[in-house]
Subunit: 237 residues, 2 copies
DNA sequence: TCTGTCAATATCGTATGCAATATAAGACAA
DNA sequence: TTGTCTTATATTGCATACGATATTGACAGA
């Protein structure tokens, strides 16, 4: 059994808004809904057998998560963050995750430590088998750490940020670049367990930055409509 | 003129939801609405001459900001964060503001530097005159730095966090404790302008932590009903 | 052929009505 | 007096209707 960590005990049967919300989030993160796609309230309501009220609220939440853009009197669109926004998101992520592991360092009981090691183990094993699974597990790892902090706001922010990062990587990342590097995760876990909060913080900060650069976020230039038009024009005989 | 920095050019005449939203936020932060107070949609809609739809949406936004708590099928209440949540919020704030000034260090043009010095000047001058004004200016200072980063998400998070901090301090802080310390601000500005990103980061991190401790967030114990009852019982003859 | 104006359409912003749910109050028995 | 059951009330959850707004396409004029 690989992902006991992901089970979220839904005591409440999940409100309709929530259902639509998570379904749309999934679809966007899996790129089944392409960035820039229109998301009319009517269409969503119809698709889920609900009214626009539900669709509207779900879209509102997705907008605060940064996954959709809400243009007043125009409608909702799947977000299409610029490369610069993407970099900004990773900056915040690095800062939050640094603080997170610093706080965690030396405050992990043996049971939790075992779980963390197990997660890294699973990641390593899956790294060569299934890309998509490995990426999912890597995300789980970061979110699990956030949960351990016992800081609800930190957890919320990190959940949101991880979503945004996934979207940015889906847009700008090259294939396979999203791997989180199980080895880096292992080093971080070891630093945390050892109580080395400075080392853990630095490792995590560097880790996040490297994920960003591996995704080519540092090198690829902003898509410039003008230059593309020039290219296209040049190809016309 | 003290606060040109606060002018937000509202190109759009501000939607009704927004109006209710900011009005309620003000009221909560000024403690005109006490923590724990009920906020029925009907009542709010009536008060603002709008329908429940508007009130509902405003409450939803305030909930994501952490200023109101939304209990399903029960209603909305002014948030009443625990002391522990309050500490967690300051942890995040320290992390974000550290990253913020590190990014800013050495990237400030002379015009902006002048503005920053002016803000610190104003704070110093008002520090002895008007408490409430000084506190407001201090908040402006932090938010202005966030705006300078050009990172929309960072700006949003920090706005949200500053609100939450205000609420926490209103609940748990002792009077006058919220002063941000204009001298600390001056040191930070100087480090930023000098391009000393390590120093600026450390100063800011410490500064936020000290604001938290000055507010007694580090010392005061959680209110424990049991112990209070014991005290009361002991006083009974 | 190009550009400006206008109508048609699609979609959102808002109000309101009805059903569902949770709390609170009251009655009653132990 | 206390515990439990029932009923009443307050309030939200959700759907729908109507007016407001932006975009699209057609058409007239240059």
């Amino acid at each position: 059994m690989l992902s006991t960590h992901t089970t979220r005990e839904t005591d409440r049967p999940m409100t309709r808004t929530e259902r639509v919300h998570v379904a749309l989030r999934m679809a966007i993160l899996e790129q089944r809904l392409a960035p820039g796609a229109r998301l009319p309230e009517d269409m969503i309501g119809e698709a889920f057998g609900s009214s626009r009220t539900i669709a509207r609220e779900a879209l509102g939440r997705l907008a605060t998560e940064g996954l959709v853009e809400l243009k007043p009197n125009r409608g909702a669109f799947v977000a299409n963050p610029t490369l610069e926004e993407g970099r900004g998101i990773f900056v915040i992520r690095a800062a939050l995750e640094r603080a997170m592991v610093r706080q965690l360092a030396g405050r992990i009981d043996v049971e939790t430590a075992r779980t963390l090691h197990q997660m890294v183990e699973d990641e390593t094993r899956l790294a060569e088998k299934s890309d998509v699974e490995a990426i999912r597990l890597a995300g789980e790892f970061h979110l699990y750490l956030a949960r351990l902090c016992g800081n609800p706001l930190l957890e919320r922010y990190l959940t949101e940020i991880v979503s945004r990062c996934s979207l940015v990587m889906a847009i700008y990342g090259r294939p396979h670049s999203a791997d989180c590097g199980a080895r880096e995760h292992r080093e971080i876990v070891e630093a945390i367990v050892a109580g080395d909060f400075v080392g853990a913080g630095n490792l995590m900060e560097r880790h996040v930055e490297e994920v960003a650069t591996r995704a080519q976020l540092g090198t690829r230039a902003e898509v410039d409509v003008r230059s593309i038009l020039a290219e296209v024009a040049a190809q016309v005989p």
